[in-house]
Symmetry: C2
Subunit: 354 residues, 2 copies
């Protein structure tokens, strides 16, 4: 088993690269910071993610540059060093193809994808604990050296992540399904609101807020991400187009109601498979609704009361319909603690609905 | 101005009908409960939503039956009584057309749509405060009598709702945009996950959870809802198909990156228009991330500390990536209270990121 001794060279000191630097620095691993933008590297150095000048050859290089440039920088680092090289891009086929085209031997390269991020960008948004408990996909290819795979796994573990090994193709199809396609669907749904009259927007509820939230992401970054995964995405989008055509034919024809119900039923089957907190499906938790006055301190009071019942709140959601003078909080708890929770909250004067 | 004196006859004692009954009963208005399913009416009566037997003629009839039957029941009630008649269906053109076809004079009918609901169904899920502060759309048609419009507005206000007046057509186009289309897009995105390998689902993050949440709704109910609004929805779905085709052409062509960015940019423009809590756009709030150990009592401690800073938490979200031993809570507060909040939380040992 390869040990992660360092130095680790990080190329690209944005959110992900700098966070990896911070995570490794807290373990005492020597980190070298490289960035085309000297301000970024300086900032990353100042917050303790590593040094801009390290004279020892790296054991491992982590390429954390924007998606479009990953393959080229991987090839460059394979040629410039004897180190194991990995990257952190959210799509894995294109960097591999690009690197292979640019350099002969890619056996020291193993792709990886830390599944963590933030709506924030840049080194100042970085955090040593960004990957704590997150999933980190590792995607070896046919000629990846076993010690390279090992070392990249060590990197992920050193950052506190849980590793999942997948082939390059399987990874890209997976993220197309659970990340890129949802993003595009969200963008298309949100796009119809751009020129809508305000009176239509006034009818918005929680559903449209949820569906369109991720559509607010940076369009340039997402153009790079979805472009890099165009093969997997094209197949899924064609599947969506087929379903959309089925919908358009069925809609409004009384005799086609079963067809509509079947399409919507397929949606239910998919929705319930999306893992919730801690990998458990939604349906393992019970939700309780509590009415709450919209004043400072009420949530504190509610959670103090909930804690006294011994229930651990696994998830929660505030319903914030426009103009409501009172809010509603949905608490999700394990089935075993729900009775006690409802009893304690009711005793203390909360209006609770199961 | 017409006063709401009652009796109010409610036809259909599901979640909405029974909740209206409870809201009116708390004001002392006499409510008559009618349901094709005698068990439902009995249950609604038992929880205090009204009586099954009222001998005085109703002043107002509220039709709260499943979408497919609304028009027929409205016509029936117009003929059987001299009362003003309204309904609570989420689509307004079809009931009006149906009622007009079945009876001559619809001047005593004014459609309405209380924008509140729940994932729960049936009389036992009903609550007197379901409509407190919610939006209640009122949709007069060309021949609606002014006193009918007035009385329906009184009904909504008596239930604690905020009224918005829209034409029938405008309402249906609005809900197609902010409710029905998002539901269908969510269902289509979720549908691609129904047969996906589990390893793909393991890569899920918060984005796909948000986008697919509403797809879990009852397929039979949603078939009725979207079928009743097929005209407005067909136009929007055709627009989506056009954008989907643009996407499919642009995807993976380097020279079409600007086209992709434009489609995604349109999504951003739409997403930021969706009103958040209290009708304010998302961008008026500042979010702060707090790392929180996954143990009972931690949320209580956090909110107690937040309350002491004087900040009112306007919205919050727990990030629950599968397998994370620590969670992350995103608190949204007004810009003016963020500095004080961060200072107080940091002082008390919380790991806070802006």
């Amino acid at each position: 088993m390869s040990e992660l001794r360092g130095p680790v060279r990080i190329v690209g000191t944005g959110l992900i690269g700098t966070s990896i630097g911070l995570a490794l620095a807290r373990l005492g691993v020597v980190v070298e910071l490289v960035d085309g933008n000297p301000d970024n590297a300086l900032m990353a150095e100042r917050i303790g993610a590593g040094s801009r000048l390290v004279e020892i050859e790296p054991q491992l290089v982590v390429v954390a540059v924007p998606p479009d440039h990953v393959g080229a920088v991987v090839a460059e680092q394979l040629e410039a060093t004897q180190a194991i090289v990995t990257d952190a891009a959210s799509v894995k086929s294109k960097p591999l193809t690009d690197a292979r085209r640019l350099t002969g031997d890619v056996s020291r390269y193993v792709g990886s994808h830390p599944m963590a991020g933030s709506e924030r960008n840049g080194p100042l948004a970085a955090r040593a604990d960004l990957f704590d408990g997150a999933t980190w996909a590792i995607t070896p290819h046919a000629t990846s050296a076993p010690e390279a795979i090992d070392l990249v796994r060590r990197l992920a573990e050193a950052c506190g992540a849980r590793t999942v090994e997948l082939s390059v193709e399987d990874h890209d199809l997976g993220v197309a399904r659970v990340s890129h396609l949802p993003h595009l669907m969200s963008a298309l749904a949100a796009g119809t609101l751009a020129d809508a009259p305000s009176s239509h927007l006034e009818l918005s509820g929680q559903g449209v807020r949820d569906v369109t939230r991720i559509a607010a992401g940076d369009p340039r970054l997402w153009t790079q991400i979805v472009s890099a995964n165009s093969t997997a995405l094209t197949g899924l989008l064609e599947q969506i187009r087929g379903e959309l055509d089925r919908l358009l034919v069925a809609l409004g024809k009384e005799e086609a109601a079963d067809e509509l119900t079947a399409i919507l039923g397929q949606g239910v089957s998919g929705a319930v498979r999306v893992p919730g907190k801690h990998g458990t499906p939604h349906i393992d938790l019970v939700t309780v609704l509590v009415t709450i006055p919209d004043r400072p301190g009420q949530l504190a009071r509610l959670f103090a009361d909930a804690a006294e019942s011994g229930a651990n709140v696994e998830d929660l959601r505030i319903d914030h319909s426009p103009g409501r003078p009172v809010g509603e909080v949905e608490l999700a708890v394990k089935p075993g603690s729900v009775d006690q929770l409802v009893e304690v909250l009711t005793d203390r004067g909360w209006v609770v609905h199961r």
